[in-house]
Subunit: 528 residues, 2 copies
């Protein structure tokens, strides 16, 4: 793996000149992730100081201000890095872009899995060159179009305004996979609200669309559960907690993104017992949750009932990984219960997971489970299960052959806490490896990079996520044929994206080095 560290350092020396020149907006298409199709010219237009949103010909009413807020964020990010002070009276009027016309055909703006995310962007509009033109089926496609547009905008140091060079641009785009996730773990370390909101904002820059919230685990239970308020006793401290209103704030954060809430059962649940000790099989066996106790399932039902009021995503994640059942057998009352039912521990694990699945289904959710559930009793899983791969490669192949859906997160390539997994590893990890049947390919709904929280708090979360998550984001968004077959080919463009993140105040780390490495020496952002 570490050969990449050496190799990339050498490559940067070789390509430094090229990359640095490009930094100013020179040759090449600097859009990340790369769209389906892009064409451009050799003109320039400049954004008016009074750049306006128009919606002529659009069917969409924007009652919840999703488009309006998205446009306002667009204006913010393109003008963050420098003071815009150009004198527009000196410009040739024909080079000034007065605004953006957004045409959305669908009136529906429910954010849900599988929503149409396609868009088409023309800068300027051939019909009206004073405007840029963005069209999309849904407002969510339009939001992606705004992200792409923001990457075409660059401060021009001569005119002191925002320039879009290489016009006319014609970009059509849509994602390859419908599920493009980032997992954040708020149990190993509590992540304050501003931290989570900033990460969610930055996800949109890379067109990731699912925030997988690994809310609770062994170490702490930070989220308020009105049905079982003492679960909150499992928080690290009084301050390190989320109210229901805080959770709603994350879900309804301005950057609209799907939130996949996780309840990792029956393992990874020790913290539940701090408030309700009867969930522990015994003082010496504090997880997995007590399979023999009806209260365990009552609490799961209560939590999922509360979840269903705020987490409106089609899926809920029920975990099911790393279940070490050995202490069940060592606990007399659990052991007796197993005996009575003629179950061994593996069967009890299966019983637990399937019963939790039924509870989730009863609350209207489809289910995501970590791959161990499939590996152990795949044929028993509810057909609405999406299997979440993590242990290694080759799992998706088996899952889709069994007719189930799959999300890819193999830890050797897509776990962000693996600091020795470098961005080329993230970039080259192909979810459809060895899956050739188009029907089976469709069952791989996407993938997810995972930011486990053992060594990650507000102080280092952003640089551990970026730029590596961006490398995976292109793999998940861009058509296979447009992806680089050799990651060296995208160094310049990915470097540009990381510098763009930095200009937007996101602490994306250098490309050289292990995950979250500090820059090793002085130098331009475009050469590190």
């Amino acid at each position: 793996m570490n050969i990449w560290v050496v190799l990339l350092s050498v490559l940067f020396v070789l390509v430094e000149g090229v990359v640095s020149k490009k930094a100013g907006g020179g040759g090449g298409v600097n859009i990340w992730p790369m769209p389906v199709s892009v064409s451009y010219g050799h003109q320039s237009v400049f954004m008016s100081k009074d750049f306006k949103l128009k919606t002529e010909g659009s069917n969409y009413k924007d009652a919840s201000c999703i488009l309006k807020d998205g446009f306002s964020r667009f204006l913010d990010v393109v003008s963050l890095a420098h003071v815009i002070e150009g004198d527009f009276s000196k410009f040739n009027a024909s080079t000034i872009l007065q605004g953006l016309n957004v045409v959305i055909s669908s009136q529906d703006d429910e954010l849900q899995y599988g929503v149409d995310e396609s868009y088409k962007l023309l800068v300027p509009s051939p019909q009206n060159p004073a405007l840029a033109h963005l069209e999309a089926k849904t407002v969510y496609g339009a939001l992606h179009g705004l992200q792409t547009f923001s990457q075409l905008c660059q401060f021009n140091f001569s005119s002191r305004v925002i320039e879009v060079s290489k016009t006319p641009w014609t970009i059509t785009d849509q994602p390859r996979f419908s599920f493009r996730g980032l997992l954040i773990d708020t149990s190993r370390h509590y992540q304050p609200l501003p931290t989570l909101k900033k990460v969610i904002d930055s996800m949109a820059y890379a067109k990731l669309n699912v925030f997988h919230w690994h809310i609770v685990d062994t170490q702490s239970f930070p989220l308020e559960i009105p049905s079982y308020p003492k679960l909150w006793d499992g928080a690290y401290s009084i301050q390190e907690r989320y109210t229901v209103a805080d959770a709603a704030e994350i879900i309804c954060s301005e950057t609209r993104i799907n939130v996949l809430a996780e309840l990792d059962v029956p393992g990874h649940a020790l913290s539940w017992g701090r408030g309700y000790p009867s969930l522990w099989p015994s003082k010496d066996c504090q997880q997995p949750l007590d399979v023999s106790n009806e209260f365990s399932f009552k609490v799961i039902d209560g939590i999922l009932s509360d979840f269903s009021k705020i987490f409106k995503f089609k899926f809920v994640h029920l975990g099911g990984d790393e279940v070490d059942t050995s202490c069940w057998k060592l606990t007399p009352h659990v052991s007796k219960w197993l005996e009575k039912r003629g179950m061994n521990e593996t069967q009890a694990y299966e019983y637990f997971v399937l019963r939790a699945q039924k509870i989730a289904l009863s609350h209207g959710y489809e289910i995501v489970n970590w791959e161990e559930t499939f590996n152990n009793f795949g044929d028993k899983l509810n057909p609405k299960t999406v299997v979440h791969n993590w242990l290694g490669g080759g799992v998706a192949q088996k899952v889709v052959a069994a007719g189930l859906r799959c999300i890819v997160s193999n830890q050797d390539k897509w776990y962000l806490d693996h600091l020795d997994a470098l961005w080329p590893d993230f970039y080259m990890n192909e979810p459809l490896t060895n899956i050739t049947d188009p029907k089976q390919q469709k069952l791989v709904i996407g993938g997810e990079v995972c930011m486990w929280g053992e060594t990650v708090d507000t102080s280092d979360i952003e640089q551990t996520i970026w730029p590596r998550a961006a490398a995976a984001a292109e793999r998940l968004w861009t058509p296979y044929d447009n992806l680089a077959k050799d990651p060296v080919k995208v160094i310049g463009r990915l470097t540009n994206f990381r510098c763009l993140l930095n200009r937007r105040g996101v602490a994306a780390a250098p490309l050289i080095g292990l995950g979250r490495s500090a820059p090793v020496e002085p130098g331009s952002c475009y050469a590190q």
Copy 2:
């Protein structure tokens, strides 16, 4: 040094219970830096949803909205971490704080070195218990009072509103030193505007008051200089530049803070010659600046003239450190020039520094110079010089004995890029060591922690600065008698401050470990 790493880890285990309990707002005064005097009671008040700024009895007009903006930032930071959703109809009216009355006696709001920074804060006001009361000589004292007030505010998870517990509070406060700085180096790495603005915001949280901008150095020249526009050619890339308007934006950032601009001459100036090669003695000798060339001084004059239009701080920093004059002698025309004037290189270095000082004085500045200038020709320095210590301890003592003013930044304790200088080192570094004469003590105007940029960009600047800079900030603000004599005594309070920074979205690193270390394992913020 590393004994601290071990010791602190052990201490955290020992005090963890205590610290975690305190985290909720329990015992102790959790204000950082510690004020001059604090008294408190055992009541609680709750901030009204419609908490208002009042200025009854104040002489200050706030024409530039300094107070109004500060109050608005105060409201933002106290409500960032959780959604405020309390039902005020359920509260006892006498426990609701309706607003803050700010009484400022001076109408003048010029931000300058030595401005009165004292304040007095009463929560609630004895005269009108529905209000808190803040009085100050100047608006800058009032801004500090707002920072202190913000640290008394904490989200209450029962009532879901902001609580100020332990009222009534009576706090009187003023800084021990008038110069409390943080150096940021934008030459080794370009730091984008949002990065700089966020760091400046966070400085105010710790009551630091001087942003020392080490703008240019050997590696790059990012700032626009209208008088000599080609100096900008020394930037790393087109995008990695600041316009004059960008600089003005930093200076006038909402968090009003003094900006000490540095022009480090004659060494550390290689990048100047990219645009004006004649500033280089030769192709093989690219720094120090050519002492024999009048153009060198013309350019310095031009830069300082441009500086004086935007950098209104009383002082400008002229560098003067690490001047390796050896290649002057090896350059024939410089060598000839030296010979003609009967100067050796050390005399030429002195000649350069003193001439630069005169230019700065002619533009109305007093001067800061790094300590080598004092060490080499201290008796020749203009009496308006402030000597900036960095090489080690014991320098301030000599400087003030010579009647000059001094700023302390000894690298072994106050250089943030020294990752093995831990927060207890920062905390215990006493600027007045061995200076007993009160007259001489007054000549130590303060100190500065230095964030040299060799391995620091947007990805790691915040966690390299915090929490260590906070430890120095208390040393510089708090009266000597209130400072802990043993840093172990402040672990709980400093931990609380670092968690407060995290809650405000500032990437402050754990207290355990070397500078900018990641958390080593899962755990509460209050135990790391």
